[in-house]
């Protein structure tokens, strides 16, 4: 038999996919990093233990949670603190937290715990070592924490509606990996199957953090309520995720890692193109899709935001859900390239939120077609960073045009087009976005405006002969070196560049944050400003003692009461 062409519907054009408004509308999917982790842990039958839980009646102390995989163990070392309310800040400039954590490579000795207890609570001001893989901290959701403690202590269960709407008892405010503050470099673990995928260390750390938070709230309720305290109902506990509060620090990441970001987007685009290329769907596949769609409606119903832009997007998304519902009432989605048809329909019928939700949802029935792409999402291509100086000037011009044609004729001196500048403040080295013409920051600008820089390089290249090797140009114009590198990277990373202005007066940094967080598998994006967003992770996920291959994947979609 002739091998079947795997893909006939092409991947979507980067010029469409890589617009900021679309990146800012992405949703989690089968390829999300949290789901990769829970699938793997269930498939490999990981075991979990709690070798220490030494917390006093004020809620101060430490605990250790160990996850044992087939080859190695990883342990979350958690420190609980008694934080005065006036010190509770999600900003990176905070200096104290409700809880602090390190993910330890293996099983820590008492000496390790002692060393970590001197450093982890200090976060950026402390030092960790090569045996630590991540460093993080979390603050309570004060309202929900108090509610759950009080209810349990009174012998009652917490109100599920409140849990659905907040989603978590604690939110992390930074999870540092990859060699930060002395921790092990990614190279130490990059060849290990279980953590070779992007952010698997960080996702494991957060997964274990969620267990710790559940145990801590139960313990604090017990301290308060004594004998009459209720045990938290597991069905309720499952809807307690871990929040995350993310600021601008994350936005430069997707610009600074074009190969990695490309690999995430390209894996999802390839998955979408494969599913769209399926000619006929079985009744079962169509049923899986309908089921997941209904369940995602429930999740979206719990999605709260007070930010005007997200309020508007959510209203459009809710209209989109109704439109999709109406489409499903008339089409059984089994015949005539059903997934391609619904995607084509969505392109004009739905908002970008709805389009991207749908693009993620059509992947759900097809784990066998999609999940293998998980292994393509890490960046293993260090050679892509090395400039090929033999490429002629004309070749680099073409590459720049491919990604930035739209930017070349823009007037980059117009304040509207360059109103903002990215810089790093000397305070905790925090990335910030400022007003170029109102603050003295231009001298400190970070290279986070690839479109403007591409236009500048393109202009300089116009004065050079077509056939001159780019190395000669770079020797005379080192100021364009980063742009030439990015242009050459685009040959292997077609989705590596944002096709939008990252320094314009109207740029919304939360779009960049959301793009990254959606690949983590985050839900319930709740912008607190144009550069600050809260999200929810692992809400609905089975805890370690419940995790199995039947519940390891679709937990992100709440079961709907029939």
């Amino acid at each position: 038999m002739e091998p079947h062409a795997q893909t006939e519907i092409a991947r979507r054009d980067p010029a469409t996919v890589m617009r900021l408004s679309r990146l800012g509308s992405l949703h989690q999917c089968r390829l999300s990093f949290m789901r990769q982790l829970t699938r793997r842990m269930a498939d490999e039958n990981w075991s979990f233990s709690r070798p220490a839980f030494e917390i006093d009646d004020k809620g101060v102390g430490h605990a250790v949670y160990t996850a044992q995989g087939p080859d190695r163990a990883y342990s979350l070392v958690a420190f609980a603190h008694d934080l005065p309310a006036d010190q509770r800040s999600d900003r990176v400039i905070a200096e104290a937290w409700d809880a602090t954590f390190a993910l330890f490579d293996g099983i820590p000795t008492p000496e390790d715990i002692d060393r970590l207890s001197q450093n982890v609570p200090l976060q950026e001001a402390g030092r960790v070592s090569e045996t630590e893989l991540s460093l993080s901290r979390a603050n309570r959701s004060v309202r929900l924490w108090t509610h759950v403690v009080d209810r349990l202590a009174a012998g009652q269960q917490p109100d599920l509606e409140q849990i659905y709407q907040v989603g978590y008892l604690m939110r992390t405010t930074a999870v540092y990996g990859s060699g930060k503050f002395g921790a092990a470099d990614r190279e130490k673990t990059a060849d290990r199957d279980e953590v070779s995928g992007p952010f698997q260390i960080e996702m494991l750390s957060v997964y274990l953090t969620r267990v710790f938070v559940r145990d801590l709230v139960q313990y604090m309720a017990q301290v308060k309520g004594g004998d009459q305290t209720s045990a938290l109902d597991p069905e309720i506990a499952r809807w307690l995720g871990i929040g995350n509060s993310t600021g601008l620090g994350m936005a430069p990441f997707i610009v600074n890692h074009p190969v990695l970001f490309n690999n995430w987007i390209m894996a999802r685009e390839e998955a979408i193109s494969r599913v769209r290329s399926i000619e006929t769907a079985t009744e079962k596949d169509a049923r899986v899709f309908r089921d997941v769609f209904a369940r995602s409606r429930q999740s979206i119903a719990w999605w709260q935001s007070e930010h005007p832009i997200q309020v508007e997007k959510l209203a459009a998304l809710k209209d989109d859900l109704n439109s999709i519902g109406a489409f499903l009432a008339t089409d059984d989605l089994t015949q005539d390239h059903p997934w391609d048809r619904i995607i084509r329909w969505s392109e004009t019928a739905l908002s970008e939120e709805g389009q991207e939700l749908l693009a993620s949802l059509i992947l759900e029935p097809y784990g066998d077609v999609v999940d293998g792409l998980s292994s393509c999402m890490a960046d293993t291509n260090a050679a892509a960073q090395v400039i090929d100086g033999t490429v002629p000037v004309s070749g680099v011009r073409t590459l720049i045009r491919n990604s930035f044609d739209w930017a070349l004729d823009l007037d980059w001196n117009d304040p509207e087009n360059c109103a903002r500048a990215w810089y790093v403040s000397e305070e905790k080295l925090e990335p910030r976005l400022g007003e170029r013409f109102e603050e003295p920051i231009a001298d400190y600008e970070q290279p986070l405006a690839p479109a403007r820089d591409a236009a500048l390089a393109f202009k300089a290249l116009q004065e050079w002969p077509d056939d001159a090797p780019i190395a000669e140009f770079l020797l005379r114009h080192p100021e364009h070196r980063h742009t030439v590198r990015r242009a050459q990277i685009s040959r292997v990373a077609p989705y590596g560049e944002i096709h939008d202005n990252t320094i314009g007066a109207n740029v919304m940094p939360i779009d960049m944050l959301r793009a990254k967080l959606s690949f983590f598998g985050a839900t319930h994006f709740d912008p607190r400003s144009d550069r600050w967003v809260r999200i929810c992770m692992y809400a609905g996920a089975p805890y370690p003692d419940e995790l199995n291959t039947a519940n390891a994947d679709l937990w992100v979609y709440p079961e709907v009461a029939q």
Partner: protein, 209 residues
């Protein structure tokens, strides 16, 4: 206390930018410093040595041109600009011996020669003022040495790698040199103001909810 190689790379990049080099060159300096550290050299100290020479404001005087078969500059050559000229066009390594005159911080040339050797899939020998090094891109044979400039450098294809330097996963830079890099890196940070504290990053809303 040791540092991760990621910390070495990040600090080297900021320091090189702070010293006035372009971002793209700072990226090269960062990777080069990391590579030297992985080979067990004090990469940050070698970079600090170069940055203290303050080439960046008049970089054109430190860029190589070919003159009578020798790479020369108006003044001592910058190893970053000379190095990128090699790693950008590694075929120069296999064409004939490269002769370089008056090179600052010559150990910083090694990572670029290594990148070229790796790309060509070959081994390359570097001789500088009585020292020598051989690399295939990943491994390096070179005695510990501290040399702040070389009168004459020769690079030829060939040589054989056996027992390269043991690869390191951590760095323990000289404290003074590390301080030099950090103070140069500091030049890239904008002073914090109350306004930027609020507008530049946060939401201005309470997190105590």
């Amino acid at each position: 206390m040791t540092f991760s190689l990621n910390e070495v790379e990040a600090t080297a990049k900021r320091a090189t930018r702070g010293a006035g080099y372009a971002w793209g060159v700072a990226e090269e300096a960062a990777k080069a410093t990391r590579w030297l550290s992985a080979q067990g050299f004090d990469g940050p100290a070698i970079l600090a040595q170069l940055l203290k020479r303050e080439f960046a404001p008049c970089l054109e005087r430190h860029i190589p041109v070919l003159q009578n078969g020798v790479w020369v500059g108006e003044q001592d050559l910058c190893p970053l600009m000379t190095g990128t000229a090699i790693s950008d066009s590694p075929t120069v390594l296999s064409q004939s011996t490269i002769s370089i005159s008056n090179l600052a911080a010559p150990l910083l040339l090694l990572p670029f020669v290594a990148a070229g050797a790796k790309k060509l899939g070959t081994t390359v020998k570097v001789s500088f003022d009585g020292y020598s090094a051989i690399t295939d891109g990943v491994h390096l044979i070179c005695a510990d040495c501290s040399i702040d400039r070389a009168d004459h450098v020769e690079i030829t294809e060939g040589g054989h790698i056996q027992n390269g330097r043991p690869l390191q996963s951590r760095a323990a830079p000289n404290a003074g040199a590390w301080q030099v890099l950090n103070s140069m890196a500091h030049r890239t940070y904008a002073p914090a103001t109350e306004e930027s504290r609020l507008l530049g990053a946060g939401s201005g809303l309470s997190d105590n909810d």
